[in-house]
Every structure is written in C-alpha cells, then in structure tokens.
C-alpha cells in the first residue's frame, strides 16, 4: 500500500551504471535514489535523474531527515524534500526509523532509538508532519540494529505497527535488516516477520551484509550494502512474498558497486521469486 511502484524488481541507481542503462534501456520495475544526492541546484546529477525519470518509475529514499531525533524536524530539509518530490513526482517516498542528526551536527549514519511511548509519540508526530508537508503518504523503513536499549518497552514490530496505524504511513520492509538484527540480537527472523504488519508493506529492500565474529564467538552482522544478497535473506524474502504476493522490491548495492549485468542478475533473481509464472511462461 501507499506506493505506486510496480510490483517488480528495481535497483538503486549508481552513476557508474548510467551509460549502460541509457544504452540498453533494460526492463526494470523502478530506480531508487537517495534524496540528499539530488539536493544540489543543477548539474549532471539532476540531468541523469531527469533522463532516468523519462523512462522509469522512481522511488525517492531519504537518508537525512532524522525522523527519530528528539526536537523538531528540520523544516528546511523537509522543504528541500518537498521540492524534490514536486520536481520528479516519484511513485514513492520513503525514510528510515532512525536518527542521524544531533544538535547542529549531521552524523551521517542511521542511528537506533529505544522503542517506548515517548519515542512512539515523537516518531508519529514527525511522520504526520512529513506527510502534511509532502502532501503524500510515505513509507517508513525498519532499521538494522546492533544494540538493544534498556529503556525499550515495545518490540520493533509493535512499534512499527502502531506508527503505521496512527499516521497512516506505509512500511518499507528491509528483509536484510530483519536478518541482520535477528542474528545480532539472537532472535528468530521468522518470528519477527510473523509479527510484522505485512499488510502495510509498500516496498521491500534486499541488500548484502558483512559478517564478523566477536571475541565471544558471537556473530556480528553489519548492514554494508557491498555484496550480493545472502542466501538466508533470499529465503526470508521468498517467505514474505508467499504471504504478501508481489511487492516492489529493491536491490540495494551502494558500496563496491558491481558491473551493471551483475546488479541486473540480482534484480532478475528477485523477479523470479515475485513472478515465477513468468519464468514458466518463458521456458515453455
């Protein structure tokens, strides 16, 4: 819900792929871009995005709004987002359940917040404001987390369900984040998904993670977006799609960006799970 993206696979747009995309005009559900990379006044960034927009559906994904930070939202940033959405009329706008600013500093990471009544009220207020200013519903993404908070009183799934129900926003389900957090907190990703309000999901994210081992022997997964989607994440994704039906699905690959065909192969793998009937149709 809350998205007009096609229910097929899309990819995160990277500048180094632009020539290959324009030369081959591949069939692809949509492109997703980070809003903040297009907040300059002009130049090649806007020229490329405008060219992509002519042929493809677009998702604008913010990484700097800092919805989970205490205090008011940055109105100036919110209005920059509005200008960007007005200019490119994306099929979807999404942001994160996280904070990334503190006082006047921008910390450039998606930091976690405790889940309790105080943060629930704050996040709901902020999302109401975003949706008011943008004049559209947004999708809120579940984070990957490495820590727990002693002052959390709600499960993340409860928190997200409550936010969606109070604000009317949709959810962006990042399946890799679900897996990363579950491993980091020693919980079961399937339990998380069983409790997730899947009827609110407007888009799915899939990406790669890094794995380290702590001195205690425990695994530490890091949401790095620099490698292919891991097999257990594909399995969880198939599990979700079996429950929800086809949903717009993004392959996120932001670091050590692969050659274009490799990224397209990941998107094709997602499409095969979303639309198995099309594979059969092609084979027969």
């Amino acid at each position: 819900m809350n998205t007009h993206l096609p229910a097929s696979a899309g990819v995160g747009f990277k500048n180094e792929h632009f020539d290959a995309i324009i030369a081959t005009k591949p069939k692809l559900g949509f492109f997703e871009v980070h809003a903040e990379n297009y907040m300059g006044e002009g130049g090649p960034a806007h020229a490329r995005l405008a060219a992509l927009r002519r042929d493809y559906a677009l998702s604008i994904h913010g990484v700097g709004l800092s919805i989970g930070a205490h205090g008011p939202l940055d109105r100036e940033h919110l209005h920059r987002l509005k200008a960007l959405c007005d200019r490119y009329a994306p099929e979807s706008f999404s942001e994160h359940l996280a904070w990334s600013t503190h006082d006047t500093a921008f910390l450039n990471d998606l930091l976690p917040l405790p889940y309790n009544d105080e943060t629930l009220a704050l996040v709901c207020d902020h999302i109401d404001e975003v949706q008011d200013v943008l004049g559209r519903r947004m999708l809120l993404e579940n984070p990957s987390t490495y820590l727990l908070f002693a002052d959390s009183t709600l499960q993340e799934t409860q928190f997200l369900r409550e936010v969606a129900s109070r604000t009317g926003c949709g959810l962006l389900l990042d399946v890799n984040n679900v897996f990363v957090s579950a491993v980091n907190h020693g919980t079961n990703a399937l339990d998380y998904l069983a409790d997730f309000p899947l009827d609110r999901v407007g888009e799915i994210h899939l990406g790669g993670h890094d794995e380290e081992t702590l001195p205690t022997g425990a695994p530490l997964l890091i949401d790095a977006h620099g490698s292919p989607v891991a097999d257990p994440v594909w399995a969880l994704y198939a599990h979700v799609v079996a429950a929800t039906g086809p949903l717009p699905t993004l392959i996120e690959w932001d670091n050590d960006v692969p050659p274009w065909p490799e990224l397209m192969a990941e998107a094709a793998r997602a499409d095969a799970i979303l639309h198995p009937e099309m594979l059969h149709a092609r084979a027969s």
């Binding site: 130049g43 940055d74 105080e118 704050l122 002693a150 002052d151």
Partner: protein, 251 residues
C-alpha cells in the same frame, strides 16, 4: 522530552569517545562495547570517505595514511553541519592551513580550495552559455556599454603557489614532475554544461573576470585587465569569455 534528549546526547557523545551510553546493552552485555563500535566506525569511515572523495588530489599529495589521520581530526573538530554530504569539507582547506603536520606543504590548502570549487561547480545551478553574437545584437540595439552575467558555476581560486599546476599534474594517470617555475597561479573552475573545467588564467584575465563578477561594466572590466598587463588584448579576452562558456546573460 528530557529522557530521549539525554539518551541521544549520550549516544552522540559516545560516537566520538570511548564511553558507552548508559541505556545501551546487548543480548550478551559484555559485547555491547564491540557492537556499539559499529556505529562509531560507520560515522568515522563514512565521513572520512566523503572527504577522500571530495579531495582526491590532497589525498594523493599526502598519502592515504596521512590523509585518513588528518580527515579524522577534521571530522572530530568539524562534524558536518549540513545533511547534504556534497557540501561537507568546505572548511577543510582552512583546517589544512592551520594543521601543524601539514605545514611543510604550504600549497596544500589552495589545492584543496580548487577541489572545493570543483564540487561546488559540479552541483551549481544550470545556465546556458551565450555565443559572442549577443554582443553584436546588443550593439545594434544601441547599447553603449554592457554588463555581463557570468555562469553560476564560476569559481576563481587564487594562490601564492602554483596550486593549479600541482592539482593538474596529480590527476589520475599523470605523473608529477619538478616545477621549475614556482610562482603564484589563479585557477578558473567552471561547469558551462555538464563537465567541470579547471584551467589556469593569467593575472590580467583574472582582473578582467573579477570586475565583471563584481557587476562592473564591460568597459571597466577591460580597463582592469589593461591596468594589470599592458599586453592584455580586449578583443581576445572577449572572444575567450564567450568561447569558454562564461557568459550567460548580457544587459
């Protein structure tokens, strides 16, 4: 909302120190410090990488290790004030100028200023450069003297050192050589269409362009060029500003 504010104060402070915020834990609490370090690392690596992307020539001049240490120091003292990472590092040249360990490379801040200007020009507003025919049209329309508007991407970086030559010979694929003629240089940075151009300009052309930028009349700008260098040729200079794509309006 005091509780969240305090908790985020502590979290943000802990990103740049060894302390752990009081409300942070992990399934195995003894792992909390190591798990928290992921955030510390994300913040520091993300910001130092953003600087390395914006200042590739500074990085090449000082080497990766020195650059990382110096970028780290900059991040600690000057975390970004803007959510637009494309703007981060505007004050990096001034930081380098005051950074003790970089004092042996007095040209480094100016090379960094060229790199700042390149980033600004890249994202500057679009405008279409005009051809020289607009001057003839203006003359036909009876204009006595003109004011020219220059492209919004234009940046002029003046250095007491050969900063342009150093920047230029440290581009990918080039091998720096000894600079025989060590002298002051001015670099023009411009994005007339979709590519950023960086070139050295002579003092007379710098004076000429600066006067136009200050909204002086074309005749005054030409006088400023001549005052700088009696060899300055007005016809060639006017042809040059149009051919380079500097002029976007004539009035």
């Amino acid at each position: 909302m005091p509780a969240l504010r305090e908790s985020q104060d502590a979290f943000a402070a802990a990103l740049f120190s060894g302390a752990l915020p009081g409300n942070v834990t992990a399934v195995n609490p003894e792992e909390a410090q190591r798990r928290f370090a992921v955030y510390r690392n994300n913040v520091m690596v993300g910001l130092t990488k953003a600087l390395a992307t914006r200042f590739p020539v500074v990085e090449r001049l000082v080497g990766e290790d020195f650059f990382r240490a110096c970028a780290r120091e900059f991040v600690l003292r000057h975390p970004p004030r803007s959510r637009l990472l494309m703007r981060y590092g505007e004050s990096f040249p001034d930081f380098l100028a005051a950074f003790g360990p970089a004092k042996t490379l007095p040209y480094l801040p100016d090379v960094a200023r060229i790199e700042v200007a390149r980033g600004e020009a890249y994202h500057a507003a679009d405008a279409s450069p005009l051809g020289p025919d607009v001057l003839a049209q203006a003359a036909e329309a009876g204009a006595e003297d003109l004011r020219l508007s220059l492209h919004p991407s234009l940046r002029i970086v003046s250095s007491a050192h050969p900063a342009f030559t150093i920047w230029s010979m440290n581009q990918p694929g080039r091998t720096p050589t000894r600079i025989a003629d060590w002298r002051a240089e001015t670099a023009l940075v411009l994005r007339p269409r979709m590519s950023v151009l960086v070139e050295a300009i002579a003092p007379a052309r710098t004076a000429f362009l600066t006067r136009i930028q200050e909204r002086g009349l074309l005749s005054e700008a030409l006088e400023a060029g001549l005052a700088q260098d009696p060899e300055f040729d007005p016809g060639t200079a006017i042809a040059w500003i149009f051919a380079t794509g500097l002029v976007v309006a004539v009035n």
